[in-house]
Amino acid sequence: MESITPSNIFKDQGRVRAVGKAGDSWTSKFFSYLVLTLIAFTMIVPFMWMLSTSLKPEKEILRRNIFPIEPTTDNYEEVINGTDLPLWYKNSFIVAVISTVSVAFFDSLAGFVFAKYNFPGKRPIFIIFLTSLMVPTEMLLIPWFIMSSNPPIGGTWVDTYWGIAFPGVITAAGIFLMRQFMQGVPDELLDAGRIDGVSEFGLFWRVAVPLSLPAIGALCIFNFLGNWNAFIWPLIATSRSEMFTLPVGIQQFSSEADTPWNLIMTGASLSVVPLLIVVIIFQRYIIEGIALTGLKG
């Protein structure tokens, strides 16, 4: 029997652990890569399937070949020339831009005020903004619809850009985010500006906004994505095909009894791919933005 001395135990354990550690980390790394690659594969396959179907001639749709045998751009020509898809593109873009510009400006301005000013009524007003985060938009859909049918200005807001965009011109989550961020703007800088005779709006526009550009950028990206992909309100707020946004239009593709899979996949590709390219380019900011704010598109 081997004598047990403190130095022995120490040596043995050290050796065992060193071996175990190296082997352990090598196999576990290999295992991680294997599993992650498999999952990454399941993430890509639906997109590949979508693109591949969009390039298939009609007679190949119901066949079991995964890639097109005779790739064709017929589907793209048919969708672009034969449907309202180009209009839906334009509509989605206009609505997303209106709402993003408005949100970037007004959320920042309100966030700036809540971060840097003291005034009577500040707390109750801020609490009302925060409380509204708990009200799901689904509860507001029916009132919004009634309001757009009988608006204060104009005949009806149904089937107008403003009608689709108006519920999103300001967001409580954005105001909260901008308030958090603008609290980091130094008061000394603002006071120095005041001494130099900069107007209060000038302090916001030329001091606070430039210092908060990362947060404003994140807010803009999420808001644009959210509006580009929004479905339920644009579905309610539009009735004519010329006014549909992309998701609403794609949903209506199948209203006939026969599902035109090749055209739907082409429409889906056209709506998804350009955005994915933009997202891949800005991925670092988007991922950091989500981690920073937890905002959901």
Binding site: M43, I125, I170, N229, F231, I232, Q251
Partner: protein, 298 residues
Amino acid sequence: MTLARKKIFWAYIFLAIPIVFFAYIRVYPALFAFQMSLHDYNPLAAEQPFVGLENYEKVFIELGKTKSITKSAFGNTISYVALGVPIQLCLALLISLMLNEIRFMSTLYRILFFLPFVTSTIAIAWVFRMLYQPRFGLFNVILQMLSLPQQPFLRSPQQALPSVLALVIWQGMGFAVIIFLAGLKQIPRTYYEAAEVDGASRWHTFRYITFPLLNPSIVYLLVLQTISFLRMFAPVVAMTEQGSGGPLNSTTTVVLRVYREAFQSFNMGYASSLTVVLFAMILGVTIIQLSITSRRIN
């Protein structure tokens, strides 16, 4: 005007438009929805009579009936939450633990996991609907290659809900991964070094260091994902016949029920009372979260 007064003056000026907008698009409609839920509100009728709590009574009577659509809607929504949230978060946690361990290509994986999240739900749900098709859909093609029996997926009342759920879990997982990774980065390295010196096993390291310190991210995601599953609508519309929530109402949700009642049958009063019940459920989840997080601070 003194500086303090000037600042107050400008604060109100700056807030004027945001407050007006906000009152118009959030506060007023929320109150309007409560009011509507107390009326037999039909925009096509000449009158909108006050009916008190009758709409809510109807909701609860329907919930008691077997085979009512409202009961299916609430039952399915609860199934989506009860199955979807734990599965999605467990998968996301496993993925982020593995992603946290590797360096080479980790950015690429992160982007790939996150792409579905920024994709239009309607577009990608249609893609999944095609993948689920009999005969030529990819899933059945794979089943045939493996000599397994073909499955009806979206056409079967038993399989439709899990099929829709799979898409939603797949699409939202990347978001949870990013939040978990951000949480994992917050855990100081020294804790792990200390655990290694003590010879703690991987399970013990996870159980006593990673899991407790990741708790804020877990609670945050639990609440956020629960609310998002409670509000499910677009995937069901895109993946079921005529957006009906079928077959046999097996996939329908509360929000789909609201949509069909309000905008296809124009029973807006009843639909509003359903949205108020949904609001109460979301409020309940939020209050539970607040009580958990504030208890931790104490």
